[in-house]
């Protein structure tokens, strides 16, 4: 029971330290993107390559018409 005030002090210090890491500011004052935002950057909504190449209808609409060439080879290769 004699240690209780000391324990409270340690707990308080830990809480303050923890709060300090929640928001990290850069030298310019803008927030660094969190790791989860990096992952989101490559989702179809955020990446124009994926936005198209995961959209079947869009690929159908933009695909070049297939030119069916007559097979000129005869026999097995």
């Amino acid at each position: 029971m004699k240690l209780k005030p000391i324990g409270l002090l340690i707990a308080g210090a830990c809480l303050i330290a923890a709060c300090a890491t929640i928001k990290v500011e850069s030298s310019t004052g803008t927030e660094q993107p969190l790791a989860t935002e990096a992952v989101l950057a490559s989702t179809p909504e955020a990446d124009k390559c994926l936005a198209c190449h995961t959209d079947k209808q869009r690929l159908i609409d933009t695909a070049k018409p297939v030119e069916i060439a007559e097979a000129e080879s005869k026999g097995i290769g």
Partner: protein
């Protein structure tokens, strides 16, 4: 293999691809291009096949081991073609042009085995851009190696069973042909393989079937012939040969094309034209390649002046292995004076005779005498009183399916009698 629709070829499956390691890499890191909504603008600077430059896009920390050897591997160099071409034709600019038009399409990149179908068969992503560690057999391996090996292995030749490894065990190509075989082992051109039969025999049947190696089991055929016949001599069945391939460029479409005169099924045993310490067999199955003296006539006259330097009936490893075959049913299939399964001179075209001198079988295996038959290591002692010198005189379906096996033998799995009936001294 049915061709894919254009959109199917490039549709990325975000659910499957993005969680993978390669899905963590931004598209433009490998494929270049531009972040734009319009297709034409987005595709400026597009790199369709990044693994065409494996050192740049596949090596580094991830696949450096494979990238170090692959540029010298046969799938990359196509040296197998060049070795035969240079032996028959030497070095000629017209052959380089021919090769570029007709042969170079078989060059394979990392991506054409692990991400998409080979461009030779129209391309198209396998599984929404997921990188497959094991290439899917029919969309990758047999997409190129289909007309002979693929059809044989999968049993697509009418009336001829598929390979037992596929039929019974559903084994795919990479069960035997491991990554090292595909990616190569050489790290420079000097030590690179000249064709697929050069160097170590790999894969080798006895790597798995250790008991079938010479002196490995009681099978008399293995004991007598294990080091003189390749395994396929006894265990493969009819396979495809071709004749008379000619290549040209179409006057109407401008596309290269080929035409073969004939395709037919053969099973012929010839002498081993590449006998070596690694492949010591005296006899192997031989397959006819479709090369002819005027195969490349479109590109110039007499482009194969050393045509006879290489056989047209070549060492072959048919991929339609069976435990029991017509030729391993009894000794007398070969030792009966019948030349039908041997590549004798009468089966070789006159204009190819000289090229095949090292392969043609000049003398057939000797006929067996009654004494030899009765003293053969696999003849059960109880057969001493039998007077025929032909096993099949009694065992009409062959000794492996001996119809006179007693009923109490039905549960025995080994149909080779000598496994239990100890050999006669």
């Amino acid at each position: 293999m049915a061709p894919l629709e254009p959109w199917e070829k490039v549709l990325v499956d975000a659910g499957k691809f993005l969680p993978t390691d390669h899905g963590q890499i931004a598209c433009m890191e490998c494929h270049g291009g531009v972040q734009a909504s319009e297709k034409e603008a987005a595709h400026v600077g597009l790199i369709v096949s990044p693994s065409s430059e494996p050192e740049k896009y596949c090596g580094g920390e991830c696949h450096s081991e494979q990238v170090a050897t692959y540029p010298f591997a046969l799938h990359s160099t196509q040296q197998g073609y060049w070795t035969a071409l240079e032996a028959r034709g030497g070095s000629h600019p017209a052959l380089n042009e021919m090769f570029g038009n007709h042969c170079a399409t078989c060059h394979t990149t990392c991506g054409e085995c692990h991400v998409s179908q080979p461009k030779n068969v129209g391309g198209g992503l396998f599984t929404g851009h997921v990188f497959e560690t094991t290439p899917p057999m029919t969309r990758s391996c047999t997409a190129c190696h289909g007309s002979r090996v693929g059809n044989e292995f999968l049993g697509k030749n009418e009336g001829i069973p598929g390979d037992v490894h596929f039929r019974e065990a559903r084994m795919n190509c990479v069960k035997c042909h491991e990554g090292e075989d595909m990616h190569g082992t050489a790290t420079d051109a000097m030590t690179a393989e000249v064709n697929r039969f050069a160097g170590t025999e790999s894969p080798k049947c006895v790597d798995c079937h250790e008991e079938a190696a010479p002196n490995g089991d009681d099978n008399p055929m293995h004991q007598v012939h294990g080091d003189t016949l390749s395994c396929q001599v006894c265990h493969s069945v009819t396979y495809t040969s071709c004749d008379g391939c000619h290549v040209a460029v179409s006057e109407t479409s401008g596309n290269p094309f080929f035409e073969t005169d004939a395709t037919y099924q053969t099973f012929l045993i010839g002498r081993n034209p590449i006998q070596s310490e690694e492949r010591p067999y005296a006899f192997v199955p031989v397959r006819h390649t479709p090369v002819t003296t005027d195969a490349y006539e479109y590109y110039g006259e007499n482009l194969l002046p050393n045509f006879n330097a290489v056989p047209t009936w070549v060492y072959s490893t048919p991929h339609n292995i069976q435990k029991n075959t017509a030729q391993n049913i009894s000794c007398e299939t070969c030792h009966n004076g019948d030349a039908s399964i041997f590549l004798t001179a009468d089966k070789v075209k006159p204009e190819e005779m000289e090229a095949n001198l090292s392969v043609i079988v000049e003398s057939l295996p000797p006929m067996l005498t009654l004494e030899q038959t009765l003293n053969a290591p696999g003849t059960p002692a109880s057969h001493l009183e039998h007077i025929s010198n032909s096993c099949t005189a009694c065992h009409t379906e062959g000794i492996r399916n001996a119809p006179i096996s007693p009923e109490d033998h039905m549960a025995y799995k080994d149909r080779n009698c000598s496994g239990c009936h100890k050999l006669q001294k």
